[in-house]
Amino acid sequence: MKDEVTREERVDNLKGMGCSRKRVEDARFTQGKGNYVDDVKLDGMIFGDFVRSPYAHARIKSIDTAAALEVPGVLAVLTAADLEPLGLHWMPTLAGDKQMVLADGKVLFQGQEVAFVVAEDRYAAADGIEAVEVEYEELPVLVDPFEALKSDVVLREDLVAEDGSIPDGAHGPRKHANHIFTWEAGDKDPTEEVIANADIVAEEEMYYHRTHPCPLETCGCVASMDKVNGKLTLWGTFQAPHAIRTIVSLISGLEEHNIRVISPDIGGGFGNKVGAYPGYVCSVVASIVTGKPVKWIEDRMDNLMTTAFARDYWMKGKISATKEGKITGLHCHVTADHGGFDACADPTKFPAGFMNICTGSYDIPTAYLEVDGVYTNKAPGGVSYRCSFRVTEAVYFIERMIEVLAIKLDMDAAELRRINFIKKEQFPYTAALGWEYDSGDYHTAWDKALKAVDYEGLRAEQAQRVEDFKAGKTRKLMGIGLSFFTEIVGAGPVKNCDILGLGMFDSCEIRIHPTGSAIARLGTISQGQGHATTFAQILASEIGLPADSITIEEGDTDTAPYGLGTYGSRSTPVAGAATAMAGRKIRAKAQMIAAYLLEVHDNDVEFDVDRFVVKGAPEKFKTMKEIAFAAYNQAIPGIEPGLEAVSYYDPPNMTYPFGAYVCVMDIDVDTGVPEIRRFYALDDCGTRINPMIIEGQVHGGLTEALAVALGQEIAYDDMGNCKTGTLMDFFLPTAWEVPNYETDYTVTPSPHHPIGAKGVGESPHVGGVPCFSNAVQDAFRPFGNTHTNMPHDHWRIWKAANELGLHG
């Protein structure tokens, strides 16, 4: 039989890896047919909402719920006193601390959950909230972590022994009642010695401000306890549905098989939806108490003020170098403001996440990092906002320190980077703070980026601009922002990464149907990343069935294999690897079936795009479609019927995507208004599965980077009042504020990943923040600026100009 279809056409038909396949999810999203948690409507469903504290620190003298219970439609009001007999008035956090579910005698931040009003509809719940009378006694407020470490005011009496001593915390000894942990990496004494004896030392203090991921959809859940069969179903905005199931089981005492957690469509996560929140616990309890399904959905203010802040790191750095600019040592101290409870979402052994990637992309022989976690009267959280754990902080730190060092050396910052990059031949490279970088080719990426933007030309233009400014010909300065970043994603190897003891592997289970289509289920959950599109592409290339014939399903713990979910760019590095490995198991069995059907030995057939062919006789073949049918319908000696596989993948290492970014910005010195003229982003995420989706992810990540660098913050006044609780003041960029992005790439595959992919969703955020910030800082460098803190909103840029005397 003559094969009418060329090999090239067969490859195209699969829509496998490397294809800019259109996103299969978008047909429903663009037509309003998505199914989000707030779309879940069940018979008899009731609603819960919170009475929240107006104070940042106060003792609760009394809670009177009588008037609220009189409000028509209000069914119940839960307080800590109601949860205490169940042991649910506190819950464990992901960071080894515990957190009040409902205020137990006091509140520690504005917006803290005080009582849970359950009502027939949302309107009645809102009226009920107004009617709950809480008597507070205000306490002194601590919003500054440095003050907190000196203060006699104790925020967490539960963590002080009766004799006044300070017991160890989850991460070792504590120095003060408001101190959470000290975490160290690297070698203290050798680093200090190198810095003390260095030719050149640059020092800087920088504050990476508190901000917040802002997904379009806020957090929420629907809890439904079926008292007849004893099963709890929990729909929710969970980035890690299996982990939530295990946590619910451990907290509630329900057996895990009696809990079904479902993450439906999720409208963005960015780390906001990793943690467990009081709303989930209260909804479950309310459903158990009332026997009815209970829905809880945050409004925007609840979301911004109470769930999952990010960053809030006070960083102090020293970097040393030779006169020629070769870096010799790096010292970093962080005072980390964790708010009222330590609810950071990090792997258990890493209370400051992967902050110890702060040596960045550079060959720095000696380094030391010390992080002190501190309690304050702010909301808990500490999530990885579109980044792997604390990697944005680490990359911001080193990319600022490089600039500060360049100023000290009076050297071009691009050149300083170039002479300190880890060289291609040094990979795998073990950094001074312990990580083994799997692969990289930084010089090639950097040269490509600088050439693409005509770096020399930009510097010449900038020099002319400075002359013109000094001559009074213009009031606009020009900044060239540089950033080179290395991410550390794909957590991770179970040997050093777990969350609450749950190893951070991931999984894929594949069933091939008899007619040659398939379903694959994974332990991850897409929040917009396009998993249903890209994982089908990985499988298409691995098993030779068209991506269009493969359904990807995630998020239902009753059907999906156990996995740790989607955050920290871990889906492709971990679940993507599991998908490839499960696909290879399918292929191995298919090879035996093909050999039987073709009446040759197993080793005499080889895989070719969508079929197995007899070696040396390509006209003799069986397509994967034919093999699938035979697998189910033909008795083959020694082979079980069916074609299924499951793989649990524990990665041998993290992956290390990297990139080179350049931003060109004009700054109006008189108004503080920045204008982004150009943004060039080169990303190397290893093997590229879907270039179109990569580009979309880069655009999104850069936009969130722009937001954080130029204005997005969670700010508090001295009384602990959150000043940025609505989108009027919390900066969420629209198309209007977003510049045109130029994207580019190099490809350095991960040597240990089955398909060489590294993950990309978060890279642009990690690399983008320092790039935007460096552009602002660079504009003022000719006038003596070394560092000014983010966010670079109009007034802070104006202030920088003002302090440099640029307003005459």
Binding site: R122, Y123, A125, A126, D127, E130, D299, R300, M301, D670, T671, G672, V673, G711, A715, K723, T724, M728, D729, F731, P733, T734, W736, E737, D793, H794, W795, W798, K799, N802, H807
Partner: protein, 284 residues
Amino acid sequence: MIPAAFEYYRPKDMDGVLSILEEHGDDARVMAGGHSLIPMMKLRMADVPHLIDLQDVGGMSDIELTADSIRIGALVTQADIIDHARLAAAAPILREAALQIADPQVRYMGTIGGNVANGDPGNDMPGLMQCLNASFTVVGADGERDIPAREFYEAAYMTAREDEEVLTTVTIPLPKGGYAYEKQKRKIGDYATAAAAVQIVKDGSNCVSASIAMTNLSDTPIYSEDASAALVGTAVDAAALDAAVAAMLEDIDPTEDNRGPIAFKNHVAGVILRRAITRAWSRA
């Protein structure tokens, strides 16, 4: 973000509106586009037990141009203003300002009547109307009266309109000369950090009349008579600009907020006014 319960009314004529207002006094509020009032109700910052929707009351959706004035009905939306070619020709500053209000979705609902009547110091139209020396027609149980825009605003959300009166029409003398509406804001949809409305008339090489008003730099819009006067009789040179800015700074009284501290706002107000005057002068 859920408002307290309220009674919703949609009367067919102004008598119906006025009778509800009379019955409920300050427990009732009228609503045109609702884009200021409804968010306040959802935040439970405004308590409105009786909400009167004006959408079915006729006669307030027209833009009329005569030889010497412009009459704009209270229910005319910002989008209507932007789309009206003859209005744009007669008073281009209205279009220039309306394009800087919020975003297109809001501009399809937000009305000129609501914008000027609500008394929110962040709104752009009140300052612009002071610059243009507009007057507002309000109607109550005792009939109609006109209130000059420059006398309408008393404090934040406090105006010369009585609770039982409805603002029906904005009347603007046909503007003359060059114009500019200059606004600095943090992002699309934001209120101004500082905004300036300027109309300026040139005869030969000198300014013969000028009108300047500032937005979101006090608890009311600020019509700065002294700043305007500083330009008249000058060639709008550097000294005149300095004098106008200095006079304006005497009149405004900004407060610190998330946009920045007072020193920043004063500085930006000066920069924005300078740019507005320069642009208006170039068009005069």
